[in-house]
Symmetry: C2
Subunit: 326 residues, 2 copies
């Protein structure tokens, strides 16, 4: 769990319930798949999206929905996130995530395909239990669609030297920020439905999500393997060119080109050279400014939420996300 949640006792308690619910749901009476489900349940992440959902749900009168329903919706957001992570790890061939061996690496790609699918069904059933009939059913399917189109588009642009920061921003809006947006919108909607405030919450979530992903991509250039608990500079080898590289590349394409032309055959020493060029041309600094820009947008909007105590907590999260080590 994200250490920040310790500071918000109510959220902390609720996130513990979310984790327990996820653990409970990852069971089946089929002994053949039980081990896999246990592995999925044990791999709980930062719970950022449920945490944001729960924070936003404090803005209204939570009695409109039962606590149990809110916990289910919070869990549904995390489960959808987990499902896409598992499938992303297949595509990325990632051996590690958060310091743990990935499902695809431990059980094989085949199992990982079905494991992700199984999580999609858990996502779907949590929603049917907690919000059947709500317009947020279709918002959920739309967010899931955006997530996938973002991932597909990112995959399509692998090794592309003509992609722009705009392409990048469009893809991370889909693959990451769409889910942050949904979490924040749902948070307000299921505690105090109000279309205008839901749109505001959605914008805040979108901006936090974009900043979060930009910073995530920065960590690939600035962290050590020990901090990040996964191989660093992995993105370059896989042809995923994120904002630090895109900014630097734009300043000195001729220097990057011979290295990036090697595509998947790029050697570790050459990847290090790419990293050196990214640093030389201030790619990380430019990306940090971009992340800060989206965080600033979020902070301004959070002020419009009204409730000072909750707004302060949401701000704390938004700022803290740009000052994390992993």
């Amino acid at each position: 769990m994200f250490t920040l949640w310790n500071k918000f006792p109510q959220i902390y308690k609720q996130i513990n319930r979310v984790e327990k619910l996820i653990d409970d749901r990852l069971h089946t009476n089929n002994p053949n798949v039980e081990e896999l489900l246990r592995a999925l349940a044990d791999d709980q992440g930062k719970q950022l999206r449920p945490g944001l959902f729960l924070l936003f749900s404090q803005l209204g009168d939570q009695k409109l929905h039962t606590d149990e329903e809110l916990i289910k919706i919070a869990a549904s957001v995390e489960i959808l996130h987990k499902a896409t992570l598992i499938h992303d790890d297949i595509i990325d061939d990632s051996p590690l995530r958060r310091g743990k061996i990935t499902i695809q690496s431990k059980y094989g790609k085949d199992v990982a395909v079905y494991a992700g699918d199984l999580l999609f069904t858990v996502f779907f059933s949590l929603l049917t239990e907690a919000m059947n009939g709500s317009k947020y059913m279709s918002y959920n399917s739309q967010a899931m669609y955006n997530l996938l189109v973002g991932e597909l588009s990112q995959m399509h642009l692998r090794y592309s030297q003509t992609q722009t920061i705009d392409d990048y921003l469009k893809n991370i809006q889909g693959k990451t920020a769409a889910l942050f947006k949904l979490a924040c919108m749902e948070g307000i909607h299921f505690s105090e439905p109000n279309e205008k405030r839901e749109r505001l919450a959605g914008d805040i979530g979108l901006n936090i999500g974009i900043a979060f992903q930009i910073y995530d991509d920065i960590l690939d250039y600035t962290s050590t393997t020990k901090d990040l608990k996964k191989p660093v500079l992995e993105d370059v080898a896989e042809g995923v060119y994120s904002s630090p590289l895109l900014f630097a590349f734009a300043k000195a394409p001729a220097e990057f080109k011979p290295l990036l032309d090697k595509k998947q055959d790029i050697k570790p020493a050459e990847i290090k050279e790419v990293a050196r060029l990214v640093k030389k041309y201030n790619g990380v600094k430019d990306a940090q400014e971009l992340a800060q820009h989206y965080t600033d947008l979020a902070l301004e909007e959070i002020d419009l939420l009204g409730d000072r105590r909750v707004a302060h907590q949401i701000k704390t999260v938004a700022i803290r996300l740009l000052n994390r080590a992993s």
Copy 2:
């Protein structure tokens, strides 16, 4: 499309609308994924599950739901089926399906993972449009869950020489028959809700689905590649031991054991030897009897449906499924 549908003009027209709807839904404003979506749309199958749904929907007064809603539900069943096929082809490493190159073979496993996921989202959005608030939302998520547990369990039992016909039946109930069951239940429910009749429809669908899958597995032993439009005897090499093999194996384990012990290293000549033994010990014949048994169960239940014209059409489908070449 299954040639039989030509004989039922109303169903035929509706299935054309289902195919058109699927085609319409597989578009995005993202040019990067458009080619893939076109390939998915072009690969329309037999439309068995939508056909059964539509047949069962004729049993009630369709005016309870709009035609458009019924077409969407019919399409949702097919889309869920397509999604699981694409992921199955990844697991099976299948080069061909219905004579066409599979998505994983043409675009790579990575694209195939996301393509299947994308279809799950289309499935989900069709349901939210056509039946948001209905208890069938949770029946759909349950069917999707059963499908996946069946596939996972089948995968877990690969190359297992201790699996029984009961294990096999349990897996095909999940991976195939659950969706037939759902299609038939939904058909009655959305034209004339009646729990008792929905249960009867579900039983009929389950039995038709079990018989269909047993026969599908038989075709792996009896067809030519040309008829089946995919490699024959593929299952044995992949360690998927279906009913013809399981029946024969039980009669002469000592003859099969040295061949099956080779697992994935089994050679084409050895696979042919397995097929010869399956024939020698009447494995195909026993499996045909098992398929016939489930079809007979379905036929008896169909008589209880009442509407003679529709019942006759459903019977025709059930019988025809055991007399197909692919």
